[in-house]
C-alpha cells in the first residue's frame, strides 16, 4: 500500500530531493526536507498533512512560484520554468482570485489572453462551453461579486482547465466553503476530471476528499516537512457519491487517519 518509488511516465511531474528553508541565516527554518514525489500523466495525487507542514510551499515550488534551495522539479521532462513558458501548469489557488472587474466568462478567458505564444498547437477549450459544463452557463455574464463562494471556486477551476494544461495544481480549493457546498463541489470536480484526465496535485485537509478524488495520497509530516508515507487508493473508477458508504472507503479512511495520527504524535514527541 505504500512506496515512494513510483516511476512517472514522461508527461507527469517529477519532484526529486527538493529542500527549502526560510528565514535569516541564524534562524533558518527548514520547511521542505528532501521531498521526492512523482505524479504520472492522468494521475490524481492528494497531499495531506498537519497545518504548516509545507504543503503550499511544495505546491508553489512545483508551480515555479518559489525556487527550491536544492533538488529538481520537472514537468513533462522539462524544468518548471520551461513548462510555465509553455503554459503547461494550471493553478487553482486557495481563494478563487477572480478579477472583480471582469465577467465570469472574461475571467475564464484570461489564460487565453496572456502568453499567447503558448496557445499555438494545443486543444484550447471554448470558455462558454466549459463554463456550461461546470454548471455556470447561466452565470457567464455575471461578475464574481454576484456569485456564491462555490460558484466562484468553480469558475476558478474552469479558468485553470480552459487552456488545457498538462498538470493541474490545486491548493485546498474547497476549504473556504461550507461542508455541504464542499461535498457538492468535490463531486463536481471528480465528475469533470474523470472525463478530462490530467495530472493533478491536490492539497487538502480533508481525508474523505483525498480518498474520493485520488489515485494516491501523500501524507506529509511537519518540522521539517517530509513525506511520511504514500497510500494507494485502489477504489475502482469511475467513483461516485455512493462510494463514501462502502467498506473499502471506510477501511482506507481508517488507514489514512492512522497515518496522520502517527505523523502528529511524532511531531509532539
Amino acid at each position: 500500500m505504500t512506496g515512494t518509488a513510483f516511476i512517472a511516465p514522461d508527461g507527469g511531474v517529477r519532484v526529486e530531493h527538493v529542500s527549502k528553508s526560510f528565514g535569516p541565516p541564524d534562524a533558518r527554518v527548514t520547511v521542505l526536507d528532501d521531498v521526492s514525489l512523482t505524479i504520472g500523466m492522468g494521475e490524481f495525487v492528494s497531499v495531506i498533512g498537519p497545518s504548516g507542514c509545507g504543503k503550499s510551499t511544495l505546491l508553489k515550488v512545483v508551480a515555479g512560484l518559489i525556487e527550491a534551495d536544492s533538488g529538481t522539479v520537472t514537468i513533462g521532462g522539462e524544468p518548471v520554468a520551461a513548462a510555465a513558458r509553455d503554459k503547461a501548469i494550471g493553478l487553482v489557488p486557495q481563494a478563487p482570485a477572480l478579477l472583480p472587474w471582469r465577467t465570469v466568462l472574461d475571467n475564464v478567458r484570461l489564460p487565453l489572453q496572456v502568453n499567447r505564444r503558448a496557445n499555438a498547437g494545443r486543444a484550447l477549450r471554448d470558455p462558454s462551453e466549459l463554463l456550461t459544463s461546470f454548471g455556470l452557463g447561466h452565470a457567464m455574464r455575471k461578475y464574481p461579486g454576484q456569485l456564491s463562494g462555490g460558484m466562484q471556486q468553480r469558475a476558478a477551476i474552469a479558468r485553470a482547465f480552459v487552456f488545457d494544461p498538462a498538470i493541474m495544481l490545486m491548493d485546498e480549493p474547497f476549504s473556504a466553503l461550507d461542508e455541504m457546498n464542499r461535498d457538492q463541489q468535490r463531486l463536481g470536480l471528480l465528475d469533470f476530471w474523470q472525463s478530462n484526465r490530467k495530472a493533478v496535485m491536490f492539497v487538502t485537509h480533508s481525508v474523505p476528499e483525498a480518498i474520493m478524488l485520488s489515485d494516491r495520497i501523500v501524507v506529509m509530516s511537519a518540522h521539517p516537512g517530509r513525506i511520511a508515507t504514500v497510500i494507494d487508493v485502489d477504489l475502482p473508477r469511475p467513483r461516485a457519491e455512493a462510494d463514501y458508504a462502502t467498506d473499502a472507503f471506510r477501511d482506507l479512511e481508517a488507514v489514512v487517519r492512522g497515518e496522520l495520527h502517527r505523523v502528529m504524535e511524532a511531531a509532539h514527541a
Binding site: 513558458r85 501548469i89 494550471g90 489557488p93 502568453n115 461579486g145 495544481l169
Partner: protein, 284 residues
C-alpha cells in the same frame, strides 16, 4: 432666501457627492430621494447661512452679508466668468499634468524598486517644502504668466497621486498574481490585466485628495502673482487689499464652487469606473 443660492447649490452638490460615495460603497440602502439624505444637510447649511447673516449685520466691516455678495456676483457676471475660467484653466492643466506625472512615476517605481529607492527621498524633500514658499521663487523664474501656476498646481497634485497609485499598484491580489505567473504572463500583461485595473480604487482615493488641493495650488500661485494676471485668487488678494469685501467673498465662493464641482464630477466618474469595488481603500 434667494441670496444664499450659491451656497445652497454647494449644499446640493455635496449631498449628491455623499450619496454617490455611499452608492459606490455598494450596499447603499438609502436612495438619493430619501429625505434623510438631504434634509439634515440642508438644515446645517441653512443654520450656517443664518449665523453668517447675523454676524454680517452687526459687523459689516468683518464680513459682508450674503445678499451683498450675491448682488456683487450678479452685477459683474462677465468679470467673474473671465476670472473663473482663468483659474479653471490653471487647475485643469496643472492637475492633469500632476496626475499623469504622479501616476507615471508610480508605475515606474512599482516595476523597478531601484527607481523608488533612488527617487523617493528627493520627492519627499520637495513635498515637505511649503508650496507657499516655492511659489514666489517660481514666479521669479517663470514670470507672471500661466507657467508658474501650472507648476505649483501640478506639484501639489503630484504627491498624493504618486503615493496612492504606488500603493494601489503594489496591492495587486497575490493569488491572482500567482495565477498569472504560472501562466508566464509578461510584465506588461500583468500590468494590463491586473495591476492597472486593480489600482483604480487607490487612484480615485488619490484624486479625491488631489483635486481640492489643485484649487488650493492655483489660488496660492495667483496670490503671489496678484495684480498681474486674472484669476479668482488674484481677485481675492487685490480686492482684500482694497477692503472690497463683497468681491473678496464672491471670489472665495467661486473657488469653493470650483472645488465642489471637481469633486462631484469625480464622484460621478468613480461610480462609472469603479462599480466593482466596494468602498475606497484607506488612503495613505
Amino acid at each position: 432666501m434667494r441670496d444664499t443660492e450659491t451656497i445652497d447649490a454647494t449644499a446640493a452638490v455635496a449631498a449628491v457627492d455623499i450619496a454617490e460615495t455611499r452608492a459606490a460603497g455598494g450596499r447603499a440602502r438609502r436612495t438619493r430621494l430619501d429625505w434623510r439624505n438631504w434634509v439634515p444637510t440642508a438644515i446645517t447649511f441653512a443654520v450656517a447661512a443664518l449665523l453668517w447673516q447675523l454676524v454680517a449685520w452687526s459687523n459689516p466691516y468683518v464680513i459682508p452679508t450674503l445678499d451683498a455678495i450675491w448682488a456683487n456676483l450678479v452685477a459683474n457676471p462677465a468679470m467673474y466668468w473671465v476670472n473663473f475660467l482663468v483659474t479653471l484653466q490653471e487647475v485643469l492643466v496643472g492637475a492633469a499634468s500632476g496626475i499623469l506625472a504622479g501616476f507615471a512615476l508610480a508605475v515606474v517605481m512599482a516595476e523597478f524598486r531601484i527607481v523608488e529607492r533612488a527617487v523617493m527621498p528627493l520627492v519627499v524633500v520637495v513635498m515637505v517644502t511649503p508650496i507657499v514658499a516655492i511659489a514666489p521663487a517660481l514666479v521669479v523664474a517663470f514670470g507672471f504668466g500661466m507657467m508658474p501656476k501650472y507648476i505649483v498646481t501640478a506639484l501639489v497634485v503630484f504627491f498624493p497621486m504618486l503615493v496612492n497609485s504606488l500603493a494601489g499598484l503594489r496591492d495587486a491580489d497575490p493569488k491572482a498574481l500567482d495565477v498569472l505567473r504560472t501562466l508566464h504572463a509578461s510584465r506588461w500583461e500583468i500590468f494590463r490585466d491586473l495591476r492597472f485595473p486593480g489600482c483604480m480604487p487607490y487612484v480615485f482615493a488619490g484624486l479625491r485628495i488631489a483635486l481640492p488641493l489643485a484649487v488650493v495650488g492655483a489660488a496660492v500661485a495667483e496670490f503671489v502673482a496678484a495684480g498681474q494676471q486674472a484669476g479668482l485668487g488674484s481677485l481675492v488678494t487685490t480686492s482684500a487689499a482694497q477692503a472690497n469685501l463683497p468681491v473678496t467673498w464672491a471670489s472665495i465662493a467661486l473657488l469653493c464652487l470650483l472645488g465642489v464641482l471637481l469633486v462631484s464630477l469625480l464622484a460621478l466618474v468613480r461610480k462609472r469606473v469603479l462599480w466593482w469595488s466596494d468602498g475606497e481603500p484607506v488612503a495613505r
